[in-house]
């Protein structure tokens, strides 16, 4: 599904020796790929920004007992970042996300079911050494 980002087309932050530099081309970005590439590390850097950026809402396995559908249903104008999405998102929530016109999503998982995703939604993490730092970006998943 091709739709322009509703909240932000660029997100960047720094966490000690890590730089995060994400450019979004779609309202739903699904971040997939091999295990151990740094997806959850990237999530933790974005979650840190929740403390100072009200446009960010982060969810992960620690929210397993919470009503995810209700939490995102109450959100407005946020970049909602969901790690462990393959165990957190049920079919109903996935359908809601695919039609949500209030928020933008960065979904870390490998199952695009019920998100009406096309290859334009699928991305993978790229890490690159920049001096003593490591920069994370995203690129289309092949």
């Amino acid at each position: 599904m091709k739709s322009r980002p509703l909240v932000m087309d660029h997100f960047s932050t720094v966490h000690t020796s890590f730089i995060l530099n994400f450019r979004f081309t779609n309202n739903i970005t699904i971040l997939m790929g091999d295990s151990g590439t740094g997806k959850t590390a990237a999530f933790s850097f974005i979650r840190e920004c929740m403390a100072v950026n009200s446009k960010i809402l982060c969810l992960n396995y620690l929210d397993y007992q919470n009503d995810i559908r209700d939490m995102i249903g109450r959100a407005n104008g946020k970049l909602i970042v969901i790690d462990n999405a393959d165990i957190l998102l049920n079919d109903d929530t996935r359908k809601y996300i695919s039609l949500d016109e209030k928020n933008q999503y960065l979904i870390i998982g490998r199952n695009p079911k019920n998100l009406f995703a096309t290859k334009e939604n699928l991305f993978e993490l790229v890490s690159k050494k920049v001096g003593e730092q490591t920069e994370f970006t995203i690129k289309e998943y092949l």
Binding site: D34, S35, T37, T40, N84, R110
Partner: protein
């Protein structure tokens, strides 16, 4: 060979199913980490096990607590050290699946197909019984079609 369930109802009542691999690893599996884990951690996360609870990260060579392993790597280690429990397969990337599908024993669950390109024989277990499958396409067919 590993045994795969595709319906939670097919998991025997006396077998525990673990969905949250991160928490199970951090609270249980970590106590059993030994030499066996070294190659798995190196292959999947490109990290080095440098102590019972420490790894050297692929990023910047920093020392991290072992809880920073990827969920896919933790899942593989959970299956390795707890071969009588059933673990959720859904958070394994292809590199983790590659290793898991060559295990001699262990149990995993996913409603949808998660198959590496290189696989040994596995036991596919559903309400219609068990069958040994050693082919990607046949396993995908079992997962997708056979209900």
């Amino acid at each position: 060979m590993i045994t795969i369930f595709k319906d939670k109802k097919d998991i025997p009542e006396d077998m525990e199913y673990v969905e949250l691999n991160d928490i199970f690893f951090n609270q249980n599996t970590v106590a059993f980490i030994d030499k066996q884990a070294e190659r798995i951690i190196e292959t999947i996360d490109n990290a080095e096990l440098i102590g019972k609870y420490k790894i050297c990260s692929r990023f910047n060579d920093v020392t991290l607590d072992i809880d920073r392993l990827s969920t896919g790597c933790k899942t593989v280690l959970n299956v390795l050290y707890y071969p009588n429990k059933v673990f959720c397969l859904k958070e394994c990337g292809n590199n983790a699946l590659d290793i898991l599908y060559h295990f001699e024993t262990g149990y995993v669950f996913s409603e949808y197909a998660l198959i590496p390109f290189s696989m040994d024989s596995v036991i596919a277990r559903s309400k219609s019984g068990k069958k040994v499958i050693n082919d990607y396409e046949k396993l995908k067919e079992w997962w997708d079609i056979e209900k």
